[in-house]
């Protein structure tokens, strides 16, 4: 049955900016405005503004919140002080990934989780299951799905930090550290915008410096207009999901449904850094520990085409130099920064070494490629 696509509070803006709307994770989202390459290069050089209202927000609070989240997620929540954020994963007992997410500690015992739109229902159900199975007293924890109330935009690019302070007011104006530009990578802070409290995190999905602004859905269109107006000095322009995808692929950031599924683990995806096996028990720990000890059969690698070819695409076979099938492409595109085909693939661990020559099978023909170190793109 076809599901009705949801529209974000920025829908009218996208249409008036000439955005080309496509379905994504149950939402009608802009894939591009001026063009994917143009927007991609603008983010690398100046700045781009993305609608990320489709993403889900869960608030988890109460005296047992930290204990619960540490049991639910792979990264160590103990590392988070109020104002800190971390990348983390939610895993099944098998180690398969339910979702990848950002967890922020807003204040003591109050956490905000930013999850993928396409996984929101699965995440919520898994979280409820974990709550029911655990020994936490219901009065000690509160889980709220704020996805329908909150929206977010990402403002990304090397120029953004130079003008962002003109956009938001500090809640504590006497404190120098309460400017947006003082936020370090992964930190989050509360700011004021037209007497509304907004949360701003120094993170993103592009590999460029930048921020994500979380606010009520009613405020988001006003923030969007304000950012485009103030960001004019830094050549800010709207950017769509197409550029978001090419930017993250160049950085080798995983995308749920591609590098991450319930059939792949963080170890196989190369995300072991975000799995703390020493923090105590958590969902998926036994399986992930076993993988760490015994090794993995396949690994997610980055590759670059070495000659002229059509862009690699998800599900294309990966071949060894001898033509033997050794894996499968999970993400692939034409890199706007490198003007070359790039991608990520799961391949047999034995062949998964940077510098290794491989081939990608594109419509029945094989084209040479090379496994490269992550990230594929580095600032010159």
């Amino acid at each position: 049955m076809e599901q009705q696509l949801k529209k974000t509070s920025l829908y009218e803006r996208h249409v008036s900016h000439g955005g080309k709307m496509v379905p994504f994770g149950g939402w009608e989202m802009p894939v591009q405005y001026s063009g994917i390459k143009d927007e991609h290069l603008a983010v690398r050089k100046h700045g781009g503004l993305f609608d990320i209202c489709h993403m889900g927000e869960f608030k988890i609070s109460g005296p047992a919140a930290k204990t619960f989240l540490n049991h639910l997620l792979t990264n160590n929540v103990e590392k988070l002080q109020p104002g800190d954020g971390q990348y983390s994963l939610m895993c099944l007992a098998t180690g398969g990934v339910v979702d990848d997410l950002y967890l922020y500690c807003l204040e003591t015992d109050v956490y905000l989780m930013i999850v993928n739109a396409s996984r929101l229902d699965a995440d919520w159900q898994w979280m409820q299951k974990a709550l029911e199975a655990g020994s936490i007293q219901p009065e000690n924890i509160r889980c709220e799905d704020l996805s329908n109330q909150l929206g977010a935009v990402a403002v990304q690019g090397p120029k953004v930090r130079s003008w962002i302070d003109s956009c938001f007011t500090a809640i504590d104006p006497g404190n120098n550290d309460s400017r947006v530009s003082q936020l370090k990578k992964n930190q989050i802070g509360a700011f004021q915008f037209e007497n509304q409290k907004v949360w701003i995190g120094a993170t993103g999905y592009t590999g460029e410096d930048g921020f994500e602004v979380i606010a009520s859905n009613d405020t988001i269109p006003v923030i969007w207009d304000m950012l485009l107006a103030k960001g004019h000095v830094g050549c800010l322009q709207p950017a769509g999901l197409g550029a978001r995808d090419t930017l993250r692929t160049e950085m080798c950031y995983p995308l749920y449904g591609h590098e991450l599924t319930t059939e792949t683990t963080p170890m196989e995806a190369g995300l072991g850094f975000f799995v703390d096996l020493d923090k105590g028990d958590f969902m998926g720990r036994a399986a992930l520990l076993a993988q760490k000890e015994k090794g993995i059969q396949r690994r997610c690698v980055a590759f670059q085409m070495t000659g002229r070819s059509a862009p690699p695409r998800p599900d294309y076979p990966v071949l060894s130099g001898d033509g033997e099938r050794i894996g499968i492409v999970t993400s692939g595109t034409s890199s706007p920064s490198l003007n070359n085909g790039i991608g990520m693939a799961y391949i047999n661990t034995a062949s998964a070494k940077p510098g290794q020559n491989i081939a990608i099978e594109i419509r029945g023909r094989s084209f040479p490629a090379e496994i490269v170190k992550k990230p594929i793109y580095r600032r010159a």
Partner: protein, 128 residues
């Protein structure tokens, strides 16, 4: 923004254009198609000498985002392809009816191909 639809050409429902000159048909994709496909980064053309059936997928165009099939509007043998698209796939976006042509076919039946649309009907098809 309405796209260009020259009166002198015939159109397939799958958004290719055909210019017939005797038994030779030159094929490309329409202005509407290139706009929908967005900026092209790669064009894969059929081999010269390949026999094509009308409606057969015979070329592939790739934007940054995705790959799309292009269908031959006519039956016959491929006699020439636009080699310059290998270096300049953007010609399809910039000049879809001239520099951006795809391939030429010697038609097996040189009577006007069936099932192709005139400019006016194609315009109605794409809702302009």
């Amino acid at each position: 923004m309405s796209s260009q639809i020259p009166d002198t050409l015939k159109y397939a429902k799958t958004h290719e254009w055909v210019k017939v000159d005797g038994d030779t048909a030159t094929v490309g994709i329409t202005d509407h198609a290139q706009a929908e496909l967005t900026e092209l980064v790669f064009v894969e053309l059929p081999a010269v000498g390949r026999a094509l059936q009308a409606g057969e997928a015979c070329a592939v165009v790739e934007s940054v985002k995705t790959a799309s099939d292009i269908y031959s509007p006519v039956s016959g043998e491929v006699i020439e392809v636009n080699e310059s698209l290998a270096d300049e796939p953007g010609a399809v976006n910039n000049d879809p009816y001239n520099e951006g042509w795809f391939f030429k076919v010697r038609m097996s039946d040189s009577s006007t191909p069936d099932g192709l649309l005139c400019a006016e009907d194609y315009k109605a098809l794409i809702g302009e």
